[in-house]
Every structure is written in structure tokens, then in C-alpha cells.
Symmetry: C2
């Protein structure tokens, strides 16, 4: 017979992370207490510590999960032409981040609240993601498809542009997500083309 | 003879705003108390209320000052060609925001903590700034200099790209601010050219 604790943990763990994500995004990490997270989940504050040692662990877990999921999902095939890879990256980045506004907000805003070791871990994951785009731009420049004097700078510029969509795009408005992806892809393509 | 209170106020007001800006940026608005701000300035908590009615007023004042200063400083001359105006806007935006990382951070992060009326005021100011760039893009598209299917979207895309510089650029590194401005200008120019 399965242990109750085990199956309970399987449900409660994700509910704690969901509640923390919502509360951190709404109020900011520093202003949220473990007691508040427990209240949102509907468990005693003490019970929270069966699932997570402290608030810092919760923060880094949320950021790590976001980055690991992002890295696993990038639909880029290095055997494709750089322009094809770039289009896949651009459309993916907008869609993935649009679906996770709270995680994006926290990923940028709460870096200041990570302990040094946790900060280093998240920065490393972010660096790996940026390296995907940088490699595409570099490959494209090498074969003469792109004119990108500094692929590292271009990477940061493109990622900031694309992530910005999460701050203003709302489904049901004048434009569909597909329209937005089309227009951003058009701008990114032109910005790097030789 | 000048009133001591008056001249004192002239110095203390800005010092309170500077301290609040630093603390909000470092810890987040919700986590900072008026007492903490007073401590940072070196005055009694009660004395703070001679200068500012509450923490919310301090937040909206910081955001308003930032936007008003930004709007007053845009060095765009509508009689110039759209491409010339666009270059001026791009270089200015990077330079202005680079010099104010805390204000930029707060302008984006603490929108969630503004009361509805204050939020509306700041959104209006931000809209006026975005309208400067949108008008440049629209003018350029009308005279056939730019190919920008949706100037509003292109405005948001360019501003997000440019503001992103504040998250990674540090003076004294591999690139000067001028190098960064050159590269971003090159990308923006290509992204909108017909």
C-alpha cells in the first residue's frame, strides 16, 4: 500500500509552489511569509516545513524549475539552417513566456533576493539558454546569412525584446499571439539579416 | 533671513527620495517601512511625515519624477528626418536608463504596488513617452523610409530591447556604452528599414 505521506506530498508540493509563485509575483518575495504561503495552500505553517526547508529554497526551486523547463522545451534543431532555427527560437520564446507571466516576473525581479550560490546556479541556467540563441546567431554569421557584429550583445537584445511581450500582451485584444509572433519575428529577422 | 525649515526641507526631501529609491530597488516596496527610510536618512520616523504623507506617495513621486524627467529630456526634433529622430531616440533611451538603474527597476517592478489612480497617472506618462517613438515610426512608414506594419507593436518591441541594457551592461567591461549604443542602433535601424 502506498504511503499516505508520499501521495500527499505529491499533491501538496506543487500546490505550495503554485501559491508561492502567485504570492511572490503579487507582493514580492521579501514581503511574503511562509505563514502566508501556508494559509494560501490551507495547511498549518509548521506543515510547510515537511515539504520545503525555507523560503529561499522555495524561491530558487521556482526559478530553477522555470529555467529547466525552458531549456528542455527549446524546439531548435541544430541541423536546420540558422534562419529556420532563429525563427523557431523567436516564436517559442514568446509563446513559452507568455504562458508564464508570474514565473517571468519572478525570474527577473527576484534575482536580487537569491543567496550567492543560488544566484550562481540560476545565472548558469540562464547563460545556457542564452547560449542557444548566441550559437544560432554565430552560426548564421559564419555562413554569411546574418550580419551580427557581436552575437552576445545581439542575443541579449533579442531576448529582452521578446520577453517584453509578457508585460503588455493580453489574449483577447486587437492582436492574437500569432500576430505578435509574426511581427516580432519580422523585426528580429531584419535586425540580424546580412 | 531664510527659514531654517525651508532650507532643511530642500535638502531632506531629495535625501528621503534617494533613500527610498535605493531601499525599494534593493528590497522591494512592500518590504520597506517608513521607519527604515527614516533610519537611512538619519531622521526620526515621525519627522518623515513632514515631507511626505505616506509610502505610497513616495513611490508614485519617484515614478512620476522619473517619467517627467525622461519626457523632458528626449532629444528628438520632429523637423529632422525620421531616421535621424529614431537614432536620437535609441541612443538617448539607452544612455538615460543606464544612468538610472534603480529608477528603471522600480518603474517596471513596482507598478503592481501603485494605487489605481497613481497607476493611471504613471501609465499615462509612459504612454506619452511611447507615443514619441510611435510617432517617429509612423512618420517614417508614411514617407516610405520604414517598413513597420504596426508602429505600436514596434514601439513596445524597441523600448523593451533598449531598456534591457540596464539589466546587463556595466561600465568598465568589454564594451563602452557608446559601443552598445552603436550596436543597438544598428539592430533597431535594420529592424524597421523598408
Amino acid at each position: 500500500m502506498a504511503r499516505t505521506t508520499g501521495s500527499h506530498s505529491d499533491i501538496t508540493g506543487p500546490r505550495i509552489r503554485d501559491a508561492a509563485l502567485r504570492l511572490f509575483a503579487r507582493q514580492g518575495y521579501a514581503a511574503v511569509s511562509m505563514r502566508q504561503i501556508a494559509g494560501e495552500v490551507g495547511v498549518q505553517a509548521g506543515a510547510l516545513y515537511n515539504y520545503i526547508p525555507d523560503k529561499q529554497s522555495l524561491l530558487v526551486e521556482l526559478m530553477r524549475d522555470h529555467m529547466v523547463e525552458l531549456l528542455a522545451a527549446v524546439p531548435v534543431d541544430p541541423s536546420d539552417a540558422p534562419l529556420v532555427q532563429l525563427e523557431a527560437f523567436v516564436r517559442f520564446h514568446i509563446g513559452f513566456h507568455h504562458a508564464r507571466p508570474d514565473a517571468v516576473f519572478i525570474a527577473y525581479m527576484e534575482l536580487r533576493n537569491l543567496d550567492p550560490a543560488n544566484f550562481a546556479e540560476i545565472e548558469d541556467l540562464r547563460g545556457r539558454y542564452e547560449a542557444v540563441l548566441e550559437r544560432i546567431l554565430r552560426d548564421g554569421a559564419e555562413v554569411g546569412a546574418f550580419d551580427v557584429p557581436d552575437p552576445k550583445i545581439a542575443t541579449l537584445a533579442v531576448i529582452a525584446m521578446l520577453t517584453g511581450v509578457t508585460t503588455w500582451f493580453r489574449a483577447g485584444g486587437r492582436l492574437s499571439l500569432g500576430d505578435v509572433q509574426d511581427q516580432y519575428w519580422d523585426m528580429v529577422r531584419k535586425s540580424v539579416l546580412a
